[in-house]
Amino acid sequence: MTKSLEISELAFAYPDGHQALFGVNLSLNKGERVALLGPNGAGKTTLVMHLNGILKTMQGSVKVAGQIVDAEDKEAISEIRHKVGIVFQDPDDQLFMPTVGEDVAFGPYNAGVRGEALEGAVREALELVGMYDFVDRPPHHLSFGQRRRVAVATVLAMKPEILVMDEPSSNLDPTSRRELADIVRSLDITLLMVTHDLPFALELCERSVILSGGIIVADGDTREILSDSKLLSAHRLELPRGFHL
C-alpha cells in the first residue's frame, strides 16, 4: 500500500543559519489521522511548509502518495499542491476572495476545473462543512468559527490526498470547536493535525507524534503518549489541569 505521506531524514536550516529540522522521519498511512504535537519553535510550521514544497527540501526527502516533493520541478509541484491541502491558522489569511463561493472555487479552478463541475465542487465542499448557505456572503460577515470551517472547505474542494491543519482549534469557542471536530471526524481523509490542544488531539487522532527540537521524539498511540507525563513535560507539553484520560 502506498503511504499518503513519507518523510525521511528531512533536515532544514533557514538562510540566517538557524536550523529548524534535524532529520525528521514520519510516515502516514492512507486514511490515518495523526496529531503533530510540539512546543512553540519545535519546527512544526517549518515541517508543514515542506509538505507542499513552499520550502525547498535541503536534505532528506518528502513523498506525497509516492510522489517526491521537489520545489524545483514546477509541474510536479503544482500537482503536489493539489494533493496536500493546508488549512492555515488564521482564516483571514486563507480566505482572500470577496465571497465564500469564489474562495472555495479558487483551488479547483487553478486545477483546471470549470463550469458546472466547478459549481459542483464548491457545493460539495461547502456542504461537508455545513456552510453552503453562505456561498455568496463575504468572509468578513461570518463568525470566526464559520470562517475556519470555510477555510477547511477551500481545501477540501481540491480533493486532497492529505489534509494538513495548523492549530485548527485555536481561538474557537467550545461549540465551534466541537462542530469542527464533528466535521473532521466525518471526513474520509488522511489528516495531519498540528496542535497544542491535547484533548482535541485525543478526540480526533488515534496516533500522535511529538516534534521537539527539530526531530520526532515520540510516535505512537495518542492515549499512551498523553499519559506519559514525563515525556510531555520534557517537551513543554501538558494536559489541561483537571483533565483525565
Binding site: R81, I86, Q94, F106, G115, M158
Partner: protein
C-alpha cells in the same frame, strides 16, 4: 450625456433630473440616504456659488446683486452637472455591490492587475480596519490619548506597526494562495453569469438619457 449638453438648454436638464429621480424612486432608495450621501458635493457647490462674483464681461441683476453673466452660467452648470453626476453615482453604488462593480470592470477588460489589487483591497479593508481599531483600543486601555504634537510619534509608530503587520499578512495570504495552486492569474468568475435582462436594465438609464439629449437637440 449631461456633460455634453450645454447648460443653457434647460429643458434637457429638467428631463435629466426627472430621469435620475425616477431611477431613485424605482430603486426604492431611502431619500435620507441619498440626501446624506449627496453632502459630499458641498465643496463644489461653494466654489460654484463664488463664480458669479468674479469674472469679466456682461453683468446681470439678480435679487439686487450685480453678477457676472458668464460666471452665473458656469456656476449653474457646475452645480447642475455635479448634482446629476453625484446622484447617478449614488444610484450605482447603492444598487450595485462593490463586488459586482469589480466584476463589471473585469467584463469591460480593465487590466487584471488593477482588478486584483482592488479585489484584495475590498477584502482586506475590514481586516486592516479592525486591526487598527484593536491597536487604538490597546493604546487607549493603557491611558494614551492623542491630544497634541507630542503624541505624533506614538501614532507614527502605530502606523508603522500596522504597515508591517499588513505586509506580513500579505505574505501569509500569498502563501495560502500558492498552496492552492496560484500561479499569477486570478480565476475568471465562473459562478455568476449576467443575464440579458440585467444588461438591458443596466443600459436603460444611459440610453434613455441619450434619447432625451438627441430629441431635445433636434427639437430645440
Amino acid at each position: 450625456m449631461a456633460i455634453a449638453t450645454p447648460i443653457t438648454r434647460v429643458s434637457s436638464y429638467v428631463a435629466y433630473f426627472g430621469l435620475i429621480f425616477s431611477a431613485i424612486v424605482m430603486a426604492k432608495l431611502p431619500i435620507k440616504t441619498v440626501a446624506a450621501r449627496s453632502l459630499i458635493e458641498i465643496p463644489f457647490v461653494l466654489f460654484a456659488l463664488l463664480m458669479p462674483f468674479f469674472g469679466t464681461g456682461d453683468r446681470v441683476e439678480v435679487i439686487g446683486l450685480s453678477l457676472y453673466k458668464e460666471g452665473l452660467i458656469a456656476g449653474t452648470g457646475i452645480i447642475a452637472k455635479g448634482t446629476l453626476g453625484i446622484l447617478t453615482a449614488i444610484v450605482l453604488s447603492s444598487t450595485t455591490t462593490a463586488r459586482e462593480l469589480l466584476r463589471g470592470l473585469e467584463t469591460l477588460r480593465v487590466p487584471n492587475l488593477i482588478i486584483q489589487i482592488a479585489t484584495f483591497m475590498l477584502r482586506y479593508m475590514n481586516v486592516v480596519n479592525d486591526e487598527m481599531e484593536r491597536m487604538r483600543i490597546a493604546r487607549a486601555s493603557r491611558g494614551f490619548e492623542a491630544t497634541g504634537m507630542r503624541h505624533w510619534k506614538v501614532l507614527a509608530n502605530s502606523a508603522g506597526a500596522l504597515f508591517i503587520r499588513s505586509y506580513e499578512r500579505g505574505e501569509r495570504v500569498h502563501l495560502a494562495m500558492v498552496s492552492r495552486g496560484y500561479t499569477g492569474a486570478m480565476p475568471q468568475d465562473q459562478l455568476h453569469r449576467v443575464s440579458l435582462l440585467q444588461f438591458a436594465q443596466g443600459f436603460s438609464l444611459p440610453i434613455v438619457a441619450a434619447l432625451i439629449s438627441l430629441a431635445l437637440a433636434v427639437i430645440g
